[in-house]
């Protein structure tokens, strides 16, 4: 290969690297997409080691969601998939995930639940 070609190839590789560097930035939307892969699908089930539906998170208490994520991260709560996912979550990520699922919805009981309480 001619030196010019090698240089061009090297430059292209560097450019690719720089491009890839930008693309690997993980946003909170990416994080939530990871959650939604299971929790966003009605009736989605775990496969191993036991089979049951993954919990609904919409309307859950944000503080509880954060506490659960921290328990998975510390190893106090043990489920292989969740532990693998939370390994990359920062405290800010956890807060953002909790806000996404809980947020204002969680502040008040759903109308039907309120009705039941009366």
């Amino acid at each position: 290969m001619q030196p010019t070609r090698i240089l061009a190839l090297a430059a292209a590789l560097v450019a690719c690297g720089a491009q890839a560097g930008e693309d690997t930035k993980v946003t909170i939307e990416n994080r939530i997409a990871q959650c939604q892969g299971c929790h966003g699908i009605p009736d989605w089930k775990t496969a191993f080691p036991e089979v049951y539906r993954v919990p609904k998170l919409g309307g859950q208490k944000p503080a509880y969601i954060v506490a659960a994520l921290k328990e998975y991260k510390s190893g106090q709560r043990d489920f292989a998939t969740m532990r693998a996912i939370v390994a990359n979550l920062s405290d800010e990520d956890m807060q953002a995930v909790a806000k996404y699922y809980g947020g204002e919805q969680a502040a008040q009981p759903a109308p039907a639940a309120q009705k039941g309480a009366q």
């Binding site: 049951y52 539906r53 993954v54 609904k56 503080a63 043990d78 639940a113 309480a117």
Partner: protein, 106 residues
């Protein structure tokens, strides 16, 4: 196959399904102590305690089972689950899942 056999086969198929699900009315009676933290309507009164209303029954049942066998650790729930039978867990799960609050957020 004659009709009687078909009916018997259907009954046999239905029985395990019936046995595997809890009774929400019975669960309601057993849920008094749960309401202290999780709310009478399954919507908890404190931010630390999870809402249970509308949660999947199999998830609730599994969580209770894990608290009892020690797979999931929590000072409050371990004590509460220690005295529950598998039937209690199914009844409680049926009751809380019959309420409404939690949803699958799309």
């Amino acid at each position: 196959m004659n009709r009687t056999l078909i009916v018997l086969a259907l009954v046999a198929l239905a029985l395990p399904a019936a046995a595997a699900s809890g009774d929400a009315e019975v669960g309601k009676k057993k849920s008094t102590v749960c309401a202290t933290c999780h709310g009478a309507n399954g919507v908890s009164v404190s931010p630390e305690f999870p809402n249970l209303a509308g949660q999947y029954p199999d998830y609730i049942e599994t969580a209770l089972k894990h608290y009892k066998n020690g797979k999931r650790k929590n000072p409050i729930m371990s004590v509460q689950a220690a005295n529950l039978t598998p039937k209690d867990m199914m009844d409680l799960a049926a009751y809380f899942s019959s309420q409404q609050a939690l949803q699958v957020k799309h």
